[in-house]
Amino acid sequence: MDLECCWNREVIEQADCPNISEGEEELLVSRLQRVTEKCCECPVFLTAIDQHRESSNPLAPILAGVLDENSRQKNQIQSLVSFLDNKTLEMRFMHELGSVLQSSVDLDEVLSVALTAITAGKGFGMNRAFLLLSDREAGVLRGYLGIGPRNLEEASQLWNEITQNDMDLQTLAQNFRHNKLSSERAKFHDVLEQLTVQLSNKEHIIIKALDGKTPVMVENAFHHPDVPRELANLLGVDTFLLMPLVSRNRRIGMIIADNFITHRAITSEDMHSLETFGFPVAFAIERASLYDKLQVELNRVTEAGNKLKEQQELIVKMEKMALVGRITSSIAHSIRNPLMIIGGFARSMIKSTAVSDPKRNFIESIVSETRQLEGVLDEILNYSDSLYPTRDFWDVNQVVETSIRDLQEMLMQRGCECHFSPNATLPLAYIDIKQVSYCIRTLIISDIDGRSGEVIIVHAYLHEGNIHITIEDKERTVSQDELDALLTPFSITHDMGSGLGLALCRTMLEKQNIPLLVVAPPEGGITYTLTLPISKEEQA
């Protein structure tokens, strides 16, 4: 064989072969390796072989055949390597996707990962995807989330961003969830709203795909007999992919993916990859949904537990109340009856005792002392009642008006006036009506006690989230010592009553976390202020 080539030389120079590049210098000194890797594909060598085939050498056609087979096998290996590389990438991606999906029980996170995976270049590289979730109670498949650009301009911006920030799938998904989830939902709101299909509509292509549990590639959508025209118009693409999400035979939802911007053809390879991806996504969505439901149930159970605890505490409290009630009832019965008999008979005796009779003074003293003792007894019983307030929402205007009405007769007898203008804008107050009414009455009584012609002004208004009731007497002057004494149990003031009165009011109100503020400036006037809560939260 007379060839103008280098194959028959053991060692060659770099300039002898145009097929040997930099970095392949070892081929210059190894003929066998050079022939296998380079000469078999060298046109000079192959032409020479063809020419030689016509010669009489019987090895020539065999050599040509061996070279052809070698070339075919090399191409096949190359194709397999390429296939394996793709599969390796796909497996890596699926592994990453699986890890992310398995580690999350948050529905929004799972959905973000799923849709990011479909649209990310590193994933399946589709332009746009819509997720529909099945609502079994309503019997519909409903559009839940969309992802992707709406136009070319947005697409360029979005893909530039992704290219500039080289992120892995998890980071991309997290980024989407934190920064774009709500905006994407709003962006595709119009589309998602119309992507609702009855699960019972077995003729609808989406439901058919869901029931069939395998991906469906829809081509020529605008003229496809099974595709409703409105669906094709809504998506605005001729080709799209329907990927059912099915977990343990449960129909979880559907992903509709398309290449709305690039119009790249969706290959059977894409479909196959997405099919592999569908199951873990469906499973993760179902698990996250179940976790959500579990969380709701857990909250409900926790709430029920708390309520039960409250009820138990209430029962214990009520048992204590019952005990207090029994004790006070016993005291009331044992003391009030003898007091009543003493006072009653003394009063009867007065009626038949002459005014000039020196014993009349003694009898009057008995009447007066028993009246005072009855008053003290009332206050003690009220005090025991005050230990356990029963709160509810009440109209403050009504509470104040009723309290003043109860005192009307007493006010008239003493020539006093009490004015109150209801405030219609007030919300309801969360109070023990009995106790607050008692306090309003007691505050007014203590103010007019032993005096006449007093004018009391009552106001009720909303201030900083509380209702304030002020009871004001501008004519009254009270010293600081008298004020302190007023609020001390069983202390006596000269002209403002005695016993528990205001101290009891303060205790009652404190039990309801209602502050009682008494202001009596030296220049005159006295103002009592009650600050009532308007919600349960303000109670400690």
């Binding site: 008979f345 009447v367 019983l381």
Partner: protein
């Protein structure tokens, strides 16, 4: 003259009520417990009953329920040593409620009010 039935387990209270209410112009019959009250109710017709709630081991509320059922035309005033019964739903069946006091003015007012109301009802044919 209106005829009143006073039911109280304390003998001195019965005497006091009896004397004071007679002075007001009422005819007063007293009873110390439910059995005695039932007996008196069978013997004659009363215009009004004044009941104590605590009757030793018995309850005036029980008697009240019985009277509302069997003698609904006869008004009842509950008279008790404690004010908490005002909040007892059963006590709401009574026509009046008075807390016991040596000063019988409130009781007398209440009796007069309830009897006047009854008379008005009768007049209206209700």
């Amino acid at each position: 003259m209106s005829k009143l039935l006073v039911v109280d387990d304390e003998a001195n209270i019965r005497i006091l009520y009896s004397e004071e209410l007679k002075d007001e112009g009422y005819e007063v019959v007293t009873a110390a417990n439910i059995a005695e009250a039932t007996e008196k109710l069978q013997e004659s017709v009363f215009d009004l009953a004044v009941l104590d709630i605590k009757l030793k081991n018995e309850s005036g509320i029980e008697l009240l329920q019985k009277l509302v059922k069997e003698r609904h035309e006869m008004p009842v005033i509950l008279c008790s040593a404690f004010s908490c019964y005002k909040d007892d739903f059963s006590a709401w069946l009574a026509d009046g409620y008075v807390v016991k006091s040596g000063d019988l003015t409130e009781l007398k007012h209440e009796i007069a009010r309830v009897l006047a109301k009854k008379a008005q009802k009768l007049k209206a044919g209700l």
